[in-house]
């Protein structure tokens, strides 16, 4: 829709509106409406392909950046064995460590819990400040946030790493779970 005021229109220009009354009725400014309205183009097919190519490059670049940025596997946590291997580098740094709680190692302390976590046979004693989450327990995979202090790991946040296993609860299992809980309590 291009309705120029007359004083801006250059009559010399090749695309100037024809002067005179006869031109007016041929100027169709009715908007095309309806379900099959086509949004008309000024560009050609070639422009579309160039655009598509550029778009493809941007998409590939984006994917590469995202993949490289995230593919450093240790960004979120170290497993216990990796953390122990890098202990001298990590000394004093705050990082996350993943492992399984060793059954029977959990003891309550004045300000939290002490326990041992293990991964691939490597064990590290943990001193945790704060209440452990509800799902915390023996053999549960956890991610701890904290620092190495001497031989132990001081954590202030326990994240439960739930895997995608689900089981319908049944009385037998509840009994088993309660027995486990009692054992853990007796140990502490």
């Amino acid at each position: 829709m291009d309705v120029n005021p007359g004083h801006l229109d250059d009559p010399e220009s090749p695309d100037a509106a024809p002067v005179g009354d006869a031109a007016a009725p041929t100027l169709d400014v009715t908007p095309a409406t309806g379900r099959h309205t086509v949004h008309r183009s000024g560009g050609g097919r070639r422009k579309l392909w160039v655009g598509a190519l550029g778009l493809g490059l941007v998409v590939v670049a984006l994917a590469a950046v995202l993949f490289n940025g995230l593919s450093d596997a240790s960004t979120f946590f170290y497993n216990v064995d990796e953390a122990v291997a890098k202990r001298s580098d990590l000394q004093g740094d705050r990082f996350r460590m993943q492992g399984n709680v060793v059954p029977g190692s959990v003891t309550r302390t004045a300000d939290g819990v002490d326990f041992t976590i293990t991964y691939k046979g490597v064990e590290v004693p943990v001193q945790h400040a704060g209440d452990p989450p509800e799902l915390f327990g023996p053999e549960i995979p956890v991610v701890l946030e904290g620092t190495f202090e001497g031989g132990a790991f001081r954590s202030d946040q326990i994240l439960i790493r739930h895997d995608n296993t689900y089981d319908e609860e049944n009385p037998e299992r509840i009994k088993d779970a309660e027995k486990d809980a009692q054992q853990a309590g007796a140990a502490g």
Binding site: P31, R35, F76, F77, R161, H162, Y166
Partner: protein, 268 residues
Amino acid sequence: MTVDNPPGTARPAAGRPPGAGPVPAHTGSRATRLLGIASLVGMVALVVFGLWLSPPDTQLGETIRILYMHVPTVSAAYLAFVITAVASVAYLWKRTEFWDLLAASSAEIGVLFFGLTIFNGMLWGKITWGVFWRWEPRLTTTAVLLLTYLGYLAVRQIPSDRRTRGTVSAVIGIMAVVNIPITHKAVDWWRGLHQEKTIFGTVDPDMRGLQLFSAYLGLVVFLLLFAWLLIHRFRVAWLAERVGDADLDVAIAERRAEGAQVGGGTPS
């Protein structure tokens, strides 16, 4: 002002005399009524199965019930964003209003479902992991995905002609979909807190009996709800375009009348 009914909706009643005033525009049809009833009934069934009939989980207890909504809402959101991408490609090819509005409507419903997914996922996270949020791979890519589609919807609000709006948003709609497989596979590719895929891609989803049934029931119900919302949203968008057309007609008629008054002749 009379407005045509959106595609797919019933024509005005046959008994209606011509010239009986403007036809009330609406977005309902037999298909949407059936879909609406089906999703409503399904939702009741999901509540019954999800909250009462299915047993709690050995480890997670009652928390597992969040999954019967979490997985379906994210699946519907992914589907919505894929529809947006496909419709965007079709728009760049065919240049018809239909594809542009379908892409936009689907993105909007997708953002709704995706926001819901993040919300119920955060509740799950607080109970299961112990925290609402951590910048781990799945959650990070999820946040990026939501922001991208919010950007898509924001760009559509920038005043411009329909072709420019359609082209720009179609380009974003195609680019944004790349993040879906990345988000979906994030749990396999990188270490994180989020558990692995629950339904799709797992050969043996370790869910059984009524738990598995509730999960799939949730999926079906939320997909029905999605279809119902999408059709209505598309028709509303279509009606909004018709109102825009009518406003344009009025504006043009006014300018022409002004031109005739001021210039005493035809507009140039």
